[in-house]
């Protein structure tokens, strides 16, 4: 068993599982932050003894703390994330219902990110000493510092109010009709994401271009697409992909605010509603699952990285 861990990918996987376990601990501890008795907070002062006991059971806070944790872990492993206090629906089924919207938003965002950041980063690297390179630096600084809830409103003002290319808010399920509702929210997230990634790509292309194998390729007379992809872009992509994995957490974060601005009925909106309603189990479940999602995405980004750039192979 321990010898298996010498395999780099398996060791990364083991680390990911360890982190997932700690995520579980954090999610479990979250409910401990409530000042006072959660059941009393939810029920008010006039609650009967029986109601309080029933609510404690619902929240999983009856019995000793070790036994609470044991039950929490056992339930999670079986896929039981508890029950929403508000609707009495299992947390997992609520998440399952709302997840597709968030996933569509994420996928649209990432596709758009790659489509925008790749050409922009390459152009910024090739023309970095011209006016374009300087404009790119300034523009990127401004865009990164603009909060999504402001840039989102600006983009609505521009594209939905002035030119009517997108709805102001709302959602309809079903591909490809949903893209009409998703492109503007995705663009808003990319307002922050693309400059960051394009900048990373730019600096790693600049770095790669001074490597000896690039010089060797030029001397051998490699030209055109083969040169740009194989010798310049591919070896430079690794830091960008790693950053994309790193920014997965940021995308998921911003998606929460974006869903509220554009009225998209995804997980973010569910979470904000749950926070407003003090729906503790639902909050706990979504926080844990979002952490798990990021751990998974980071792991995948590491794997892709190893494939793209042999120098960065997981060790």
């Amino acid at each position: 068993m321990l010898r298996l861990l010498r395999h780099p990918v398996l060791r990364r996987l083991a680390q990911a599982f360890f982190v997932a376990f700690l995520l579980m601990v954090f999610a479990f501890l979250l409910i401990r932050l409530i000042p006072g008795d959660p059941a009393m907070i939810l029920l008010g002062d006039e609650a009967t003894e029986e109601d309080v006991l029933a609510y404690r059971k619902l929240l999983g806070i009856d019995g000793s703390i070790p036994s609470q944790f044991g039950r929490y872990v056992a339930n999670l492993v079986r896929g039981d994330f508890g029950v929403s206090i508000r609707s009495r629906e299992p947390v997992l089924s609520i998440v399952g219902k709302r997840l597709p919207v968030s996933l569509w938003l994420t996928v649209t965002t990432i596709v758009m990110t790659v489509g925008l950041a790749l050409p922009l980063g390459v152009a910024a690297a090739l023309y970095r000493r011209t006016w374009f390179g300087h404009a790119f630096q300034i523009g990127a600084s401004v865009m990164v510092a603009t909060p999504v809830f402001f840039s989102g409103l600006l983009l609505i003002l521009l594209f939905a109010v002035q030119v009517n290319l997108a709805p102001i808010a709302g959602y309809h399920a079903g591909f490809p009709a949903n893209l009409y509702y998703l492109w503007l929210p995705a663009l808003t997230i990319n307002f922050v994401l693309v400059p960051v990634l394009a900048r990373i790509l730019q600096s790693s292309i600049v770095e790669t271009s001074s490597e000896e194998f690039v010089e060797a390729a030029i001397i051998r007379g490699t030209q055109g697409w083969r040169f740009y992809w194989r010798y310049l872009l591919r070896p430079s992509l690794a830091p960008t992909i790693a950053a994309l994995g790193y920014f997965a957490a940021t995308v998921v974060s911003y998606a929460v605010i974006i869903e509220i601005i554009f009225n998209l009925p995804g997980l973010g909106m569910t979470l904000v509603d749950a926070v407003r309603n003090r729906d503790y189990p639902l909050v706990q479940g979504i926080v844990f699952l979002s952490g798990l999602l990021v751990v998974g995405l980071t792991f995948m980004a590491d794997l892709v990285n190893g494939w793209l750039d042999p120098r960065a192979k997981i060790r």
């Binding site: 995520l23 603009t146 909060p147 809830f149 957490a249 998921v252 929460v256």
Partner: protein, 291 residues
């Protein structure tokens, strides 16, 4: 005492000279950052002070466009938007500074502690712990904590404190790993100083400068989180003037009165841009890239 005074006297002038020297060391980016931040700070102090209008009270007909009487117009409750925008600047910047200062101290301390221990098991657990805490999407973790502690300014600050220390700890640990075998640390050990004293007086000051560099970029993030949660109605709530909350209120009039979001949003972004420019400029100076 009298002997000391002539030495103290020129200190004020010396300090001024020192300021000028610091300014000369800055590059264009960081100078712009300083200018923008100074402008916002001066306006946020002077505008609410000089204006006869109170940020909370009705002054004139609601939803007026910007005019000579009201530079930024009036909002949906007939309040002076100019005064509100800069009263909000004060609150937002103060909250963000509060939000940054606690995690930097806690995180640096914990990170230094973790960096100087030589226990293998502790190191593994530590890595997992920090990785797990930073794996949560930032805003979702803050929302989760706010849900438990309470959706108000206090809850928001507690949530920021709990969720933001890990990055500082990570930086501090990396730096103190390099420092724990340094000669001046060994010297302190030979002198027989206690572990705690070596940690706090000898290692932490050296770790702090790097943590401060990160704090600037963290400041941007925290001011966005404060605005973001208030925008969602889960942080600072109306009628308190706060940029995010003002954006949420103004959003309802987006179609007809866009200046209600343009002014608070512009100054929120400008603050973040100022800090970002300063951070980038300082980073390039410390790397020795220009000037």
């Amino acid at each position: 005492m009298t002997a000391g005074s002539p030495i103290i006297a020129p200190a004020g002038r010396l300090r001024r000279v020192e300021w000028r020297r610091h300014w000369r060391q800055l590059n264009a980016e960081s100078r712009w950052g300083v200018v923008i931040l100074a402008l916002i700070l001066v306006l946020s102090v002077s505008v609410p002070f000089l204006s006869p209008n109170d940020p909370y009270s009705f002054v004139d007909q609601p939803l007026q466009p910007p005019s000579a009487a009201f530079f930024f117009g009036t909002d949906h409750l007939g309040r002076d938007l100019l005064v509100r925008v800069f009263a909000a600047a004060r609150l937002d910047i103060a909250l963000a500074i509060l939000g940054v200062s606690v995690p930097i101290v806690i995180g640096t301390f914990i990170g230094t502690l973790a960096g100087t221990t030589r226990n293998r098991v502790a190191e593994t657990v530590w890595d997992g712990l920090v990785n797990a805490l930073t794996a949560f999407p930032e805003i979702i973790l803050v929302l989760g904590i706010v849900a438990m502690v309470g959706a108000d300014i206090r809850g928001l600050l507690i949530a920021i404190w709990i969720s933001r220390w890990a990055q500082y700890a990570r930086i501090a640990r990396a730096k103190s790993l390099a420092l724990r075998d340094a000669e001046f640390v060994q010297a302190a050990q030979v002198l027989g100083y206690s572990q705690l004293r070596i940690l706090v007086r000898h290692i932490m000051p050296n770790v702090f400068s790097e943590a401060l560099a990160y704090a600037l970029s963290d400041f941007i993030f925290i001011i966005v989180i404060i605005g973001g949660l208030s925008f969602l109605g889960l942080g600072v709530t109306p009628p308190t003037p706060e940029w995010g909350a003002m954006l949420a209120e103004g959003r309802l009039y987006l179609r007809t009165e866009p200046w209600l979001i343009l002014f608070p949003g512009f100054f929120l972004s400008l603050t973040a841009i100022g800090v970002a420019l300063l951070a980038r400029g300082l980073e390039r100076i410390s790397k020795g890239e220009d000037e």
